[in-house]
Symmetry: D3
Subunit: 139 residues, 6 copies
């Protein structure tokens, strides 16, 4: 069940084919997962979304690829996106996430959720020590 109909012959649309080919080349896999196939109902949305995913997730940056996948899973869990939890857990495993790391991720996510709710329930005022606006310019 979905709210848009995936185009059955998506790759006969040239703009879609260019994106799908780039996904395959970037990931080194023939599999195009459903997210992209449904998003293809609008080529502009597909292009813009893939461009950002490629830039953020597939370009070397300050954090390593596995750490970025763990962060992605964490956000997806907190936002309650089942599809995203599935796809990024699979991606993290493909990038080497062990069962122990998966369990550790879940322990942190569960703990954060717990203290997030406690801090919100208490309406704790922020410590002045945490305020970056107060840091002198040259420190």
């Amino acid at each position: 069940m979905s709210t848009v109909k995936p185009v059955s012959q998506a790759e006969t649309t040239p703009r879609v084919k260019v994106v799908f080919d780039d996904i395959r080349a970037t990931r080194g896999s023939e599999h195009i997962n459903h997210f992209w196939r449904y998003l293809a109902f609008d080529p502009s949305l597909l292009e813009a979304t893939w461009a950002e995913v490629k830039q953020v997730m597939a370009t070397p940056s300050a954090l390593d690829p596995l750490t970025k996948e763990l962060i992605y899973i964490a956000v997806s869990v907190a936002n309650g996106c089942g599809y995203c939890v599935h796809s990024h857990t699979a991606a993290a495993r493909a990038k080497g996430m062990s069962a122990a790391q998966h369990a550790d991720l879940l322990a942190v996510v569960g703990l954060a959720a717990r203290t997030n709710h406690l801090a919100t329930a208490l309406q704790v005022p922020v410590d002045s020590a945490f305020d970056r606006d107060a840091v002198p310019d040259r420190s």
Copy 2:
């Protein structure tokens, strides 16, 4: 402003003092941040929460301490807990997070939020390739 009144002389309560002393010893810092000072209105809740934070965040495990802080921040952002975003961004910095890593974290969090909302809007069906229930027992 808060929903509970912090006990002004929290450490005259022996159970609170034991927890505060352990927080100081574990973190190597005299500062007890507000979260713990307000949570101290109920010593049992304070003890149980600190025990889990110490176990998950301050005990060596499959993920390194900075990675765990980054995940903590990600969940806190998605759950909209301002206090937690502040306290764990400060903690991540204390554990060595660079400005470039901070920016990278934010890029992943922002991207995940975007695709989480798109996947939910499309109601994308989960790819069978992601299903772990279908993995044979001995594979």
Copy 3:
């Protein structure tokens, strides 16, 4: 799967029949979607909910019917309600939403989610220019 059992002969309950007949008359359709059939386990909850839906969505007001459906979808996506995303996407289409408008809606929803998370991660202070409390009484 559901957490309540829909009454198989819902319309033999007079209060339920009155609401269902009004839904049909208001919408000009014989179809009563599942939401109402399950909510009918409690006639008072059914009546109160339908009364508000009819008042807000089916009464001419400052925003046109399609704009109201787009807003409804946006909230439902952010709240992660799959059922609601489905039912209101169908409703928006019935009120004339084109594929291009649907894609535009998704682009805005995805962008908003991204900047929402960034602003929360940065804990940006609100600009005084945005404060309505500061607007003089006679301005």
Copy 4:
């Protein structure tokens, strides 16, 4: 700071005055809290919202008044509404919530948040035993 300007002489608007007087009479208190004062920028929205609050929270029903306030706080925490957490914690206290009950509420909220996130991270399939659709009609 707010996004609307409260009318300084709200009660010179007859429709607003009727609602404010009913809030005072229902609650047995002269205090009209900010939520209502800001919502008064639109008398229809004020009337509709107060009518539902009065019906659900101030009319005897299957759950007692304090239990309803505890549920209200729980939802407000999970939705991250700071104002609502404040106003309903004060209301629960006014209806007799003890410090021990408050701590117990927070323990349940924190635990639920933790297991909510774990179940979402695991994408646990629902047990057939929980399905009400499967219950025979006459059971």
Copy 5:
């Protein structure tokens, strides 16, 4: 579909068997629901999670068992955890929740969600009367 594979012979792992036996004894039921069976992929996570559930939900405390289940459902709904809504609605029913109480719970949850969103949209400033920090120490 799930993101981890439940161990088919979970109870051949001694640490898992100890937890499962305690769940059965505590609940007086042979049924171990899916949440625990999937969480068993990591015995430490299983033990820590069950320990907290048992402490908070199955130990006599300031709130009665049914009230705690209602709060649990409320948080689970607001966090959008379908599995948790199912399992705790079933648990509440097992502890005596009537259909009228269930409907009342839903009415409060729905109302809270509505006013949570209104207060956030208005960015209502918190009334000073709600501030516990301002309460004198000896009051």
Copy 6:
């Protein structure tokens, strides 16, 4: 209070100045709101975010500018981003949103939140009539 320190002389950084000048030219206003000033701690993140905001919000598309702002506000409310609610309510007003339209927006947002929570609490199964996957290819 914020989690990053805004660079006091942001516009001495050439990449930041280019973005700020484009924001001013695009909006026809000298005011650069805080979101951009804090995001400037990382020029790449600033550039990527502004590029998407300009593309989605300031380029003519299938939905008119005011409708897009209303959708933006709706998502920001549901995600609990106070800053975003402020900035986009101001933007909507600058684009002509009347008080009556604002009230109508809030009525829809509040209603959607209420039924989102009810549908999640009931775990209503999706009607087959809503399924776009089932629509024949040539219909």
